[in-house]
Structures are given as structure tokens and as C-alpha cells.
């Protein structure tokens, strides 16, 4: 057994790995980039080393050697599926906590993986995995595979660059876009085509293989609730299979797949499952999965512990038949993003963070953490375990109800809505769930306005006469007026301070800032609320959901007003392209500037026909949210 382990990752997963290693008595070594200095993951380890980039394999191996680490755990993402890194670790005489470089290599290419699985007798979907990547070859193959089909970067992962194409005419533009993204993200624009299964369910099998040829599976997980091809809710087991035979067949395929590459360590074989419970191999992830905690919950195992033990040469002591899941576990991933804006990532400072209690929370953040647009915006995984699926759902929902995350946008409300959805409860879920079900508009705004106004009012320092009610009048002509912007709408709030209570928009309101956790009483109903203020921005958590309100200042100096026709950056990120020059005549809806944050492209389009009067955006530059990019004239 090793006595020191370098964890070559950041955030939540680095912390999660460190926890197990420390429990096992292993000294932990972390790494951090200058941007991450002071972040939680660099502080929970026994020692941390500064590096320039989490993708700098040489620097990480050097750090491991320098700190007397005996092994390297890659975590999830970054270098976890890079065979050359695994090799470099081993070449340095260190233990690589992961599968062999050969296994990584085989499974890392979607094309090669498809071919090997077919050889091993694993069911795969009709598709194209040939090295001939010319446009003609791909177009021909697309016609053969048939529509709808899915384009996947062969080297990819995490849904980046994937596109579903419904008709032949959409194929070429989709291919071009996918190639551009893949080239930027993975340095390889080779594509695999596969028949797209509508209403498919995403089900995967956790496997463990040791260095002595043993391989077991730890049953399945279902990860069908996805957005932008990324999982957001996962569970174990799955309710997708009408018969145990289908499930057994799945496990058989999973073991075949793992054995085909002599898999060592923890891995995941992913399948796409149709409405009848028929499974087809999708890919194998040669690393720990983000959603591994649901398996840990039902199997009662620590997967990171077994990764380390296997890497150190231990033989698996398990009897496959005795590995039976207990109860039901469900995980929700809390992301810093805006579900209503195409799930665009949200960056900023997580100024308010209260994780729920009574459930497992794996997170890499704390109150005050910077959520940067440079890294994955996942804030936390919340994992609930129950006897039944319904119980796990209920517990998870309750945990998300009480979770407080303010200062950046999150998908908390979307997760709560999914968990409360009758279709979700009935188990009829598939990867298109979010496309098929529309989330009703948030009802949080009216309560959030009341809470924001009350908080603003009560927090104002007492004036020269602290005993006098604020806004005292002997001949009142009107109530206090405030304005908040929510989305694109401006809401007026009227407030009267009656001393014993406030009257806000006609509601009788009481709130005591001294009592924690904060509660608000509105017309005789008392419930928790959280308010977090940064400048004019007011983030409010209510029992109906979260809302960001932006207080409209009472006075704005004329020279600080944005010029009319100014188009601003919708989020912080890097400018990829500027499509126009001063003097260009543009049409409404025309794409003017493209921004990128976390590999997500976001267009800024012309709101109306007009002429470009000024261009402030410059390709390659980073901009903050709200920066003026273009000024247009009618």
C-alpha cells in the first residue's frame, strides 16, 4: 500500500478522493493553478503544489516526485483518460490509480471502442467508425446509418461537440460545427456517427477489475436526465428494465467489454437503452464517474478505496452473486448555470452557500468560492439514499429545497422541478426529458421582490435618529418606491414602514435579520428565505425558487448610462469571433459577436435592423458580463 498520493485534479472530485485517501492513512498531495489559489481543494489536502495547468502532465509528475508521492490519482476529467499521462506516471516509478494506458487508448477512441466491442460480441448500434473522415465518406455513411443520427467526436467526452441530426440537409452544418468544437476541445476532429435512439435511456454499469484477471460489476446506474448531453440526475438501480433477464444481459455485455481490454480498476460501461429495455454499447469510461456515489450508496462500497487497493495490486475479494444493491440512491448535480438561457454557465462569487444536511454532499465549494468560467461549473453533488425510488426522490427533493446557493445562477429550481414531475416519479424518463417537458415560468419573483425589498430596507443603517421609523412622514404623499430588474422585466415595489411591520406591495411583512436562519413572514405565512447582496444585485432564495433581482439605482449620472443601442456581454467569457465592423448594415437576429465560456458558444445578435456604430469587442479578449461589445444605430 502506498503512503502518499498526489491527486491531479481540482474541486469536488479532488476533495472526494482526498477524503478516502486520508481515511486510509495516506498522505494527500494536491495541485492548484494560480487562479485556484486558496480554493478549498488546495486546502483540504496535507500539502498542495502550484502548477500552471491541470493539463500539464510533466509538471504534475514532477510535483509528485518532489513531494514523495507514491501514486497519482487523476480524478475525473483533465488527464484522467490520457494514456500518455498514465504512462508518464508509471515511468516515473509511481503507482497509477487507473487502468492501463492500453485500455485507456482503446476506449478513448469512440471509433476503436466500437470496433473492439463488436469483436467481443457486445451489442452496438448501427454506425460509422471508419478512419476515413472525408466529408463525402461521412455524408455517405450518414445516409447508410439513417436519421436521426448522432455525431460524436471520436476523442470526446462530456457531451462536447455532440449533435443530433434529424435530416440529411442538417447534416453538413452540424458536422462542421461539431468538428470545430472537437478540434478546439480535444485537438482531434474525427467523428463517429451512430444511429440516434429517440427516447433512449442512458444506463451504465460500474465494473471493477483487478490485476489478477478478476472482474466484477457493481450493478447499473441510470443517468437519463441530461441537458446538453450531460447528466444532471443519476440513480441506482434503474427502473428501465421490464425483465431481470435484460438486466443480466446488460451485465454480461459490461463484463465482456471490460474483459476485452483487460480492464483494471474502476470503470464504467455505458449503454443506450430503448423503450423495450434493449441495450447497446455506447462507450466505456476508463475512470471514476462523477455519479459514482449512487453506486457507493447502494453497494456500501467506497470506489476510490477500491481504485487505490487495485492499483496497489490487491486482488478483488468479491463474490459477484453476493454483490447486491440495497435500496435506491439518487444524485442531483448542482451546476452554476442558467437553465432558462440554454444552460449557459454562470460565473461569479458563490457569496452564500448552505448545503443541506442529512444527505451526502460532495462539493468543492464553500461560501465565498469563486466560480470561474475557466472550469466546470459543477458546484456540488447531492446524494440521497432510501428504501425505494420514491423515498430517495423525496429525500433528494427535500435536500434541494433546503440547499442555499446564491451569488451565481444555479439549476437548483430545474432539479427540484424534475424531481417533482409526475413523469419522473413514474419512471418514464429518457435523455430527451428536458426537451419534451417545459418548465413553467418561475413563481419565485413576487416573493423574491418582497424579500429583497424587506432585506434592503431593514439592512439600511439607522439615520441620525435611530428611534424614528425610516421614511417618517407627517403628510405622506406616497410609499417608498424601489425598482428591481428581473430578467428583462422591471418590477416596481412599494414599501411602507409601519414600525412593527412593513407593508410591501400590499403584503404585511415581518423579517428579523438578527435571527438565523433568516425567515420572512408574509401575510401570516412564515418560511425560510435567503438574501445575498452584491452591489445592486440581490440574489434571493424563496420557497418557490431562486431569483436574481437587480436593484435599479435611484440616480444614474448621465455619463454612466450605457449608450442607447449598446449590446453587452450576456456572460463573462472569451470573445471567439467578431463578425461585424463599424458601418456594417445588419439585420435583426444577425450574429454579431460570439463569446465562449466553458467551451459553450454564445451569440450576441442584433435586436433590430440597423448600422454598427461602434465595436468594442476584440477576438481573443476576455470580457466580464455586462461589458459593452457593440453599439448599434437604427
Amino acid at each position: 500500500m502506498i503512503d502518499a498520493l498526489l491527486i491531479a485534479n481540482r474541486g469536488e472530485i479532488a476533495i472526494r478522493v482526498a477524503k478516502t485517501a486520508q481515511r486510509m492513512g495516506i498522505r494527500t498531495v494536491g495541485v492548484y493553478t494560480p487562479a485556484d489559489r486558496g480554493q478549498l481543494h488546495a486546502r483540504v489536502v496535507d500539502v498542495a503544489v502550484e502548477i500552471d495547468d491541470y493539463l500539464n502532465a510533466t509538471a504534475i509528475v514532477a510535483a509528485a516526485v518532489r513531494t514523495d508521492s507514491r501514486g497519482v490519482h487523476p480524478g475525473v476529467g483533465f488527464l484522467a483518460e490520457r494514456a500518455d499521462f498514465a504512462q508518464a506516471v508509471m515511468d516515473a516509478g509511481l503507482v497509477w490509480v487507473g487502468p492501463s494506458p492500453q485500455a485507456i487508448e482503446s476506449m478513448g477512441s469512440k471509433a476503436e471502442a466500437r470496433r473492439r466491442m463488436m469483436e467481443a460480441g457486445v451489442r452496438v448500434l448501427p454506425g460509422y467508425d471508419h478512419p476515413d473522415q472525408t466529408a463525402q465518406a461521412l455524408l455517405r455513411a450518414a445516409q447508410e446509418v439513417g436519421f436521426p443520427l448522432i455525431i460524436k467526436p471520436s476523442a470526446g467526452g462530456g457531451g462536447k461537440g455532440m449533435a443530433v441530426v434529424d435530416t440529411l440537409s442538417d447534416f453538413e452544418p452540424a458536422l462542421a460545427s461539431a468538428r470545430r468544437v472537437a478540434a478546439a476541445a480535444f485537438g482531434d476532429d474525427a467523428m463517429v456517427l451512430e444511429r440516434f435512439v429517440p427516447h433512449a435511456r442512458h444506463i451504465e454499469v460500474q465494473v471493477l477489475g483487478d490485476r489478477h484477471g478478476a472482474c466484477v460489476h457493481l450493478h447499473e446506474r441510470e443517468c437519463s436526465i441530461q441537458r446538453r448531453h450531460q447528466k444532471i440526475i443519476e440513480e441506482a438501480p434503474s427502473c428501465a428494465f421490464p425483465s431481470q433477464a435484460q438486466r443480466d444481459r446488460l451485465f454480461e455485455d459490461a463484463i465482456k467489454a471490460a474483459e476485452a481490454v483487460s480492464y483494471e480498476g474502476a470503470g464504467t460501461v455505458e449503454f443506450v437503452v430503448d423503450g423495450e429495455g434493449n441495450a447497446h454499447f455506447l462507450e466505456m469510461n476508463t475512470r471514476l464517474q462523477v455519479e459514482h456515489p449512487v453506486t457507493e450508496a447502494v453497494m456500501g462500497l467506497d470506489l476510490v478505496e477500491w481504485q487505490i487497493r487495485i492499483a496497489c495490486g490487491e486482488a478483488l475479494p468479491f463474490d459477484q452473486d453476493k454483490l447486491q444493491p440495497c435500496g435506491w440512491a439518487m444524485e442531483a448535480r448542482l451546476y452554476a448555470e442558467q437553465p432558462d438561457a440554454g444552460h449557459a454557465p454562470s460565473s461569479g462569487t458563490l457569496g452564500w452557500w448552505v448545503p443541506p444536511s442529512g444527505v451526502r454532499v460532495d462539493s468543492g465549494v464553500e461560501q465565498g468560492s469563486i466560480v470561474s468560467s475557466s472550469y466546470d461549473p459543477m458546484l456540488a453533488k447531492v446524494v440521497a439514499h432510501g428504501e425505494t425510488r420514491a423515498e430517495a426522490t423525496r429525500r433528494l427533493r427535500h435536500a434541494l429545497d433546503s440547499l442555499e446557493a446564491l451569488g451565481v445562477h444555479t439549476n437548483r429550481d430545474e432539479l427540484r422541478w424534475i424531481l417533482a414531475h409526475p413523469e419522473y416519479a413514474s419512471g418514464s424518463i429518457h435523455t430527451g426529458f428536458l426537451n419534451e417537458h417545459d418548465r413553467p415560468p418561475s413563481q419565485a419573483v413576487s416573493v423574491a421582490l418582497v424579500a429583497a425589498a424587506a432585506d434592503d430596507w431593514l439592512r439600511r443603517p439607522a439615520g441620525p435618529m435611530p428611534g424614528l421609523v425610516k421614511n417618517w412622514r407627517n403628510n405622506r404623499s406616497r410609499a417608498v418606491e424601489m425598482q428591481f430588474v428581473h430578467g428583462s422585466e422591471t418590477h416596481a415595489v412599494s414599501l411602507l414602514d409601519e414600525g412593527s411591520h412593513l407593508v410591501i406591495n400590499g403584503h404585511r411583512v415581518r423579517m428579523d435579520l438578527q435571527i438565523e436562519p433568516l425567515r420572512i413572514e408574509i401575510d401570516g405565512r412564515l418560511f425560510p428565505v435567503a438574501v445575498h447582496r452584491t452591489g445592486n444585485n440581490c440574489w434571493v432564495k424563496t420557497d418557490a425558487g431562486d431569483a436574481l433581482l437587480s436593484a435599479v439605482p435611484r440616480f444614474v449620472a448621465p455619463d454612466s448610462k450605457a449608450p442607447p443601442g449598446a449590446l453587452t456581454a450576456p456572460l463573462g467569457g472569451a470573445i471567439v469571433r467578431v463578425n461585424v465592423e463599424v458601418g456594417d448594415r445588419v439585420e435583426a437576429g444577425q450574429e454579431l459577436v460570439v463569446l465562449e465560456a466553458m467551451k459553450m458558444e454564445q451569440s450576441v445578435t442584433a435586436p433590430a435592423d440597423g448600422v454598427v456604430a461602434a465595436v468594442h469587442a476584440q477576438a481573443g479578449h476576455r470580457v466580464d458580463m455586462g461589458t459593452v461589445l457593440i453599439v448599434m444605430e437604427q
Binding site: 430596507w457 439600511r460 439615520g463 441620525p464 435618529m465 435611530p466 428611534g467 424614528l468 421609523v469 425610516k470 421614511n471 417618517w472 412622514r473 407627517n474 403628510n475 404623499s477 406616497r478 417608498v480 418606491e481 435611484r554 440616480f555 444614474v556 449620472a557 448621465p558
Partner: protein
């Protein structure tokens, strides 16, 4: 300091009856104030709004810190005088702007174009006096058609005083910031002309000694309004405007910025630090304490218990001259001496009052007068005991005292009692009245009774019979007239006070008044007129 006990029973029939009467009076006050707020009425408000302008009260609200106070002064001035609307065409009061207590005056532009009549002049002068006495920076929001020309004779001569006041304040380092939202012509042009800072709203302010019609009359020149007195012209050419505002909100923003930049510091000590207790008893109980019948007295200490912090009161000389209650307390943290009537003034009460006023001056403590007085006691015994001599002492002390005085008319204010208890003529910094307030040289019954006696003795001297019918008619007419003229509404319309207030708000109003008074140094005196011992 001890907490005062109370004997008020909110469930008693008397209490409820009193409260009902007060409620009716407060509803009348609400109606009157509503009329004041309505300015020139719906039609003119709409016309004003249609021009894209903010209503004058909206300008005031937006100028003020929204978490600060605004104590409007004399809101019912000129009410029902020659059919005039309450408010006298001027909105004025003490408020907080950028954390600084200031005097705000604003033209009620929807009322006859903000033209000034004689009560407008009187009210403006009162506001100006308050600003000067208490060292309050003045923010004036101007949009006025100028003098009410048909009545120019009533205002021309006294109205000139306002410009002199401006420069007097400036000399005393009390700044005036003038924001011009519209017309400010003829004499009105001197308002921005003599202010320390002027802000003019682009395309709205018009400041000139004579508008195009008068210029044409005088010289034959055909002048363009903007070139003659527009904001841009004054900002760029004449130099009369110090700041050019883009629009009305911008003018208010600039006005606030000027206040901030001045960094005004109050010269008084201010309230004590630490927690400030509200009264132990609900101030709204004053509604049921005040008698429905003005002739029925109510106990002064019950009033004090609903005005002072924690209902605490350190009484001075409680056993001597008991019809005048004197003692120390705190109101919103401000140390005060309180002088309250608890019956008719006798010689000893007046002497005690004079002594207490001297003590407050010795210690630089402001004095609050709670006036409820039917007058000095009359009769041979008290005259022989020198009641006039004693009363003269108290009037001497009140007149020469230099600590701030705040007077609240809680009930009656008759005869020389009004003077000794710091009535309007004695220059209290602020004077407010409750709705039940009655003020006159004497009560109407006394007055008609005196008339009866004089008529009868005159008839007896002449040896003729009294025409009972005619006398009864005379008494009735006089009684009704005096009754009407002694009413709080009649008094406040004539600017005999700074406004009628809800008794429940008395503590807050006094607090605001004291806080304003502490903008100036609070300094007592040892210098008095000759006391007749």
C-alpha cells in the same frame, strides 16, 4: 430617572368617547392634508405631468433620502382664506438629504403656476426663519409664475425680505442650493441669483428679470425665451447657472451631490449614544386621554409619559406650584427640559417656570413646552399675592432664554398663558398643535359673559332696559365668531403654528424638531431682563 405611572384605562367609556372625538378630528386633518397634497387639482396636475414634469411633491420625495424623515411644515397655511387651497403654494419642511438635515422648499407648480400670494410669502418667511435659526442648509425647488399679480399690493413690499434672507443665510455660512425646474422670473430670478449653488434643468428652466412680453413693452426688442433666460444660456453664457441638468432627475441628483460635497456638520451635541427606548405606554393612547370637551382638563404627566423615552421623567419641584409640571427627560435620546400645564397658572407655578427655564439655560438643555392653559388665575387674592409680577418673571425668562424651544399646543391656549408658555410670539424654534387645540385671548364663554356684564352695566348706567333679544343675538354672534376663530384649523391656516399633528406622533415630531435645532449650537444664557422680585 423614574418611569411615570399611568391611570389611563383604554377600556373605559370616557376613553372611548374621547378617542372617538379625536378620531373625527384626525379624519378632518387627513381630509385637509389630502387637499394640500392635491395641489392645483386633477386638471392642473395632469397638465403638469403631460409636460413630462415631476409633480412638486414627487420632486421633494425623490430629492429626499428615502430612508430619512420629512416633517412637512405649515401644510395647511392659507386654508380657506379667501378661497385659497391649503399649503399656500409652497411645500416646505425639514428632511434628510444625503444624511444631512435640510430645509426643503418647493413651488407647488400645479397651483396657479406656483404663483406667490401673501400667505405664500408668510410661509416662505417662516421656513426661512427656521432654516436660519437652526442652521439648516436650504434646498429650494423652483418653478413659479412669480408674484400673484392681481394681489401684488399684498406681497410686493414684504416679499422683498426673502432675498435678503438668502444672503443673510449665506453670510452665516448656511448654504442654499437652488434647483430651477421651470419659470423663475422677475423678482423670482433673484432666487437662483442669490443662492450659493444653482442647478437649472435643460430646456425647462427660464430665469430672467423680464420675459419676452415685458421686454417688448420696455424696449421693443423681440426676444427668444431660451436666449433670454434658458438653462443652457445661463450655464454657458451668463454664469447664473452653476450646473446644467439633463432633466429633472438629474437636477435632483446634482442637488444631492452638492449636499454631499459640502460635508455639512451639525454644531449641536446630538442625542445620547446607545439604545433609545420608546415610551413604556402607547402614544396612541393620547387619543383617548384628550377630553372631547375642551373644558375638561387632562393630566399633564399622562402626556409626558407618552412623549419621553421609556416614559421616564425626573420632575423638578413637584410639590411647589403644582399646576405647572417641570422636569427633565429624554426624547429620541435628546436631553430636554419639559414644562407642562396641569391647571391654571398661579404665582408659584409661574415662578417655578422661570426658575426652571434659567436652569435649562444654565445646562444648555432645550425646552419642550406642553401648552394646555386657560390663563393665569384671577382674583383679588392672587393679584395681591403678585401674580402679575410672577407671570412677568416667567415671560421674561421665556423671552430671553436662548436654548431651543419647542412648543406643542395640546389643548387650550388662552390669554397670557400663551405667552408664558412660549406661544408663537415668543419665537419657539418649532410650534405644533394637536387637532383639539383652541387659541384665543380668552374662552368664548368668558368672552360673551364679559360682554353681557359690560352691556348690562352700561344699560344700567344709562337707566335703560336691556334689549334681551338683541343682547342674546350679539352674544351668539360673538360666541360663534370666537369659537370659529379659536379653532386649530383657523389658527394653522394663519401660520400661528407650524402645523397640526396627530398627538400620537408628538414624540417623533419633537425628536425631529430637536434634531434640527441641534444643527445649530445649543447655547443657554445667563442674561435676562430685569426681574421684579
Amino acid at each position: 430617572m423614574n418611569r411615570l405611572p399611568t391611570n389611563v384605562d383604554p377600556n373605559s367609556a370616557v376613553f372611548r368617547d374621547n378617542a372617538e372625538a379625536m378620531q373625527a378630528a384626525l379624519e378632518q386633518l387627513d381630509r385637509d392634508l389630502e387637499r394640500a397634497r392635491a395641489g392645483g387639482g386633477e386638471k392642473y396636475r395632469k397638465r403638469h405631468l403631460d409636460r413630462g414634469k415631476l409633480l412638486p411633491r414627487e420632486r421633494v420625495e425623490r430629492l429626499l433620502d428615502d430612508d430619512g424623515w420629512f416633517l412637512e411644515l405649515c401644510p395647511l397655511a392659507a386654508m380657506e382664506l379667501d378661497g385659497r387651497a391649503p399649503g399656500a403654494g409652497v411645500i416646505g419642511g425639514v428632511g434628510v438629504v444625503e444624511g444631512v438635515e435640510v430645509m426643503i422648499t418647493a413651488s407647488e407648480a400645479t397651483l396657479q403656476g406656483g404663483a406667490i400670494h401673501e400667505y405664500g410669502v408668510k410661509k416662505s418667511q417662516r421656513l426661512s426663519e427656521i432654516a436660519l435659526q437652526n442652521r439648516l442648509p436650504v434646498l429650494s425647488l423652483i418653478e413659479s409664475a412669480g408674484a400673484d399679480l392681481p394681489n401684488q399690493a399684498d406681497i410686493f413690499v414684504p416679499g422683498g425680505r426673502g432675498f435678503r434672507d438668502l444672503t443673510e443665510r449665506s453670510k452665516a455660512h448656511i448654504p442654499t442650493i437652488c434647483m430651477v425646474f421651470g419659470s423663475s422670473t422677475a423678482g423670482g430670478a433673484y432666487l437662483p441669483g442669490m443662492s450659493d449653488y444653482t442647478v437649472m434643468v435643460k430646456d425647462a428652466a427660464q430665469v430672467f428679470l423680464a420675459g419676452p412680453p415685458l421686454v417688448k413693452m420696455a424696449t421693443g426688442e423681440i426676444a427668444d425665451e431660451e436666449a433670454l433666460g434658458g438653462a443652457e444660456m445661463h450655464a454657458r453664457i451668463s454664469g447664473l447657472a452653476d450646473y446644467l441638468a439633463e432633466d429633472e432627475m438629474d437636477a435632483l441628483r446634482i442637488g444631492r451631490e452638492i449636499v454631499r460635497s459640502i460635508g455639512w456638520e451639525k454644531q449641536g451635541l446630538g442625542p445620547e449614544a446607545g439604545t433609545i427606548d420608546p415610551p413604556a405606554y402607547d402614544p396612541a393612547e393620547l387619543h383617548g386621554l384628550v377630553s372631547r370637551d375642551p373644558k375638561v382638563p387632562f393630566p399633564a404627566r399622562e402626556v409626558i409619559a407618552r412623549v419621553t423615552d421609556g416614559s421616564r421623567f425626573h420632575e423638578f419641584k413637584p410639590l411647589y406650584g403644582p399646576t405647572l409640571v417641570t422636569g427633565y427627560a429624554r426624547i429620541h435620546g435628546f436631553k430636554v427640559g419639559i414644562i407642562a400645564n396641569d391647571g391654571v397658572l398661579f404665582g408659584p407655578s409661574a415662578e417655578k417656570g422661570a426658575q426652571f427655564i434659567a436652569l435649562c439655560n444654565q445646562r444648555h438643555i432645550p425646552i419642550v413646552f406642553l401648552q394646555n392653559i386657560t390663563g393665569f388665575m384671577v382674583g383679588t387674592a392672587v393679584e395681591q399675592a403678585g401674580i402679575t409680577r410672577a407671570g412677568a418673571k416667567m415671560i421674561n425668562a421665556v423671552s430671553n432664554s436662548t436654548v431651543p424651544h419647542v412648543t406643542i399646543m395640546t389643548g387650550m391656549s388662552y390669554g397670557a398663558g400663551n405667552y408664558a408658555m412660549c406661544g408663537r410670539a415668543y419665537g419657539p424654534r418649532f410650534l405644533f398643535a394637536w387637532p383639539n387645540h383652541r387659541i384665543a385671548v380668552m374662552g368664548s364663554e368668558q368672552l360673551t359673559g364679559v360682554l353681557d356684564i359690560i352691556k348690562r352695566s352700561s344699560a344700567a348706567k344709562r337707566g335703560v332696559a336691556v334689549n334681551e333679544e338683541e343682547l342674546a343675538m350679539m352674544k351668539m354672534v360673538l360666541g360663534t365668531k370666537v369659537e370659529r376663530e379659536s379653532h386649530a384649523r383657523y389658527a394653522t391656516a394663519r401660520l400661528w403654528d407650524d402645523g397640526i399633528i396627530d398627538p400620537a406622533s408628538t414624540r417623533d415630531v419633537i425628536g425631529i424638531a430637536l434634531s434640527a435645532a441641534h444643527s445649530a449650537p445649543v447655547q443657554g444664557t445667563n442674561s435676562w431682563g430685569v426681574f421684579r422680585h
